[in-house]
């Protein structure tokens, strides 16, 4: 039987299939559908310093092979996470990784510090696509110096595996990846959503209350794959790849492009059992191609 397990920044994953933040709740909602223990890990919904109501309705628009969302980090804050949610999910038989968000460096640091105390959370994923309120809304993830700063400040207080999730809405994804690594990132996650927009021509209005929102789903897969490939060649830390993964073939494409693991996002909405099917599909592919360990696939794209 092929070996699907993988080490990422010293952390052992039983397989390279995890679920993306904001698309898997806190895992709980999927227990009717599948065995969470079959997953490499679960990235839970973004946690911020204080309660956030998120954006107004409507928050969703369907687009060709994808969707736009403008949920806006709705969550009850880090206190609520630590006291109410963590106890319920801490014994899941898979890695629980917290997606950490904020509008100021201080907020990121505060949340990271609190999550650092939770024994059963072996890693955090800094979501630096949020706008920096102090710097007039420019996202932390679009200016390399800001990415380095927020990563470095969090690094000071966070002792376990530090992942940084990048926004694809930039001219040079490799500059941002290098900046995060300079700040002390152990792992780079790629990609968050592309900024997009949808319009209802009958009402002559934007469909989202926020006018623009984040594009996810298969539509963005070619862009995501390209960025994983570019970053894989530019930095030497492991990469977690995502963006439009719907099946095992898509997941293997990300591994070949250089990702050490993948996250399944929007696909969970369409088939809540898809992540387990992807694990099985990767195993079947490895058997068929006589690949003994999944690590042989990582970055194994032939370009000569």
């Amino acid at each position: 039987m092929p070996d699907l397990s993988i080490h990422i920044a010293g952390l052992h994953f039983k397989n390279p299939v995890t679920t993306a933040s904001g698309t898997y709740g806190y895992g709980d909602e999927f227990r009717d559908f599948m065995d969470l223990g079959k997953l490499g890990g679960i990235f839970v919904k973004a946690v911020t310093g204080k309660n956030r109501d998120g954006n107004a309705y409507p928050r969703m628009a369907e687009t060709p092979s994808g969707m736009l969302n403008s949920v806006g980090l709705q969550n009850k804050g880090v206190d609520h996470f630590c006291h109410e949610i963590y106890p319920k999910i801490k014994d899941f038989n898979t890695h629980i990784i917290v997606n950490v968000s904020g509008s100021t460096v201080e907020e990121y640091v505060e949340v990271a510090e609190r999550i650092n105390e939770l024994d059963n959370v072996p890693a955090i994923e800094l979501n630096i696509s949020c706008p920096n309120v102090k710097l007039g809304g420019m996202a932390f993830g679009t200016v390399p110096a800001m990415a380095t700063e927020v990563t470095a400040e969090v690094r000071k207080v966070y002792k376990k595996v530090l992942m940084v999730k990048l926004s694809p809405n930039v001219t040079s994804i490799t500059d941002l990846a290098k900046a995060a690594v300079d700040g002390g990132a152990d792992v780079i996650t790629l990609i968050n959503t592309l900024l997009g927009m949808a319009i209802d021509v009958e009402r002559r209005r934007p469909i989202l209350s926020t006018i623009t929102g984040g594009l996810s789903g298969p539509a963005i897969k070619p862009v995501a794959l390209r960025m994983v490939w570019q970053v894989h060649k530019a930095v030497h830390v492991p990469i977690i790849g995502l963006g439009g993964i719907m099946n095992a073939t898509d997941a293997i494409e990300f591994l070949l492009a250089g990702a050490s693991a993948v996250q399944v996002g929007t696909a969970n909405f369409i088939d809540p059992t898809v992540s387990v099917k992807i694990v099985d599909g990767i195993e079947a592919y490895m058997t068929r191609h006589k690949v003994k360990s999944v690590s042989e696939l990582i970055g194994a794209l032939r370009t000569e």
Binding site: D32, R59, M60, E62, P64, Q74, P272
Partner: protein, 259 residues
């Protein structure tokens, strides 16, 4: 019967066209149904349709636990529903179900159901459920025109049916809130259950509030997942932004921020 959500291929056993815009799908489950409550809905995967990426939500129109079938009443709106209208017996349809909360069992026998358009869908199942609890509701159904009036005999088995059409071609004429039962000084109902377009539900809610009648509405919303994980389908309530697909679709109007 347990409360569990399933992802399952159901078999189409019947597809009946009611009129040019509406049809009823009858679906057979491969295993015994879990407990399904009135007001709950399903998320349907539309295959072979290039422009439907996400599932489509539909209320459960009725359930037959003996035959292990459920029915959906669907109005053709866009590409997804158009594709579903072409299904034939023997085809399979992938469903996530049962989803959402449910209408509550009322503490009174003076119950009014109000439905408009495809919002009538969950009311049949609700009427059956009320009957099982010895409640025979009044059922007010609004349609655009005579051609779209349907299933009146079916509903009549469970309560007294009143019809109103936009153009007056059958029953009374006007919107549901124009119906004569609402024009009295004191209404005879202690509970209203309502489902239909937003504007209609808001108008019914206004009447309910005026007459201090307890009222539950089933909200529509744009949904990506349908089972609580994407937070796309929220509605503002007394507890903040709540998910229509989990804390709803049924809400007591007192909990909603409708003025």
């Amino acid at each position: 019967m347990e409360l569990k959500k399933l992802v399952e291929d159901l078999q189409v056993v019947d597809n009946t066209r009611l009129n040019h815009r509406h049809f009823i799908l009858e679906l057979l489950a491969p295993e015994k149904f879990p407990l399904i409550l009135p007001g709950q809905f399903v998320q349907v995967l539309v295959e072979d349709s290039p422009s439907t990426f996400l599932r489509r939500p539909f209320s459960i129109h009725s359930v037959d636990y003996q035959k292990n079938t459920l029915r959906l009443l669907i109005q053709i709106k866009g590409p997804g529903t158009a594709q579903l209208s072409k299904l034939k017996s023997g085809d399979h349809l992938n469903l996530i179900y049962p989803l959402g909360n449910s209408f509550s069992l009322p503490f009174t026998k003076d119950v009014l159901l109000v439905g408009g358009g495809c919002g009538v869908a969950p009311l049949l199942f609700l009427a059956q459920f009320l009957n099982q609890n010895n409640i025979h509701p009044t059922i007010l159904l609004g349609f655009r025109t005579k051609e779209e009036v349907s299933e009146i005999e079916t509903y009549s088995a469970y309560g007294k049916v009143l019809v109103i059409t936009d153009d007056g071609t059958e029953g009374e004429k006007g919107l549901v809130v124009d119906h004569s039962i609402f024009q009295k000084e004191r209404l005879e109902f202690k509970k209203i259950f309502c489902c239909g377009p937003d504007a209609m539900m808001k108008a019914v809610a206004k009447i309910a509030r005026m007459h201090r009648i307890d009222c539950e509405v089933s909200l529509e919303n744009t949904m990506a997942c349908g089972f609580g994980v994407c937070l796309c389908c929220i509605t503002p309530t007394d507890k903040g932004n709540e998910r229509v697909c989990v804390e709803g679709p049924v809400f007591n109007i007192n909990r909603l921020k409708w003025q």
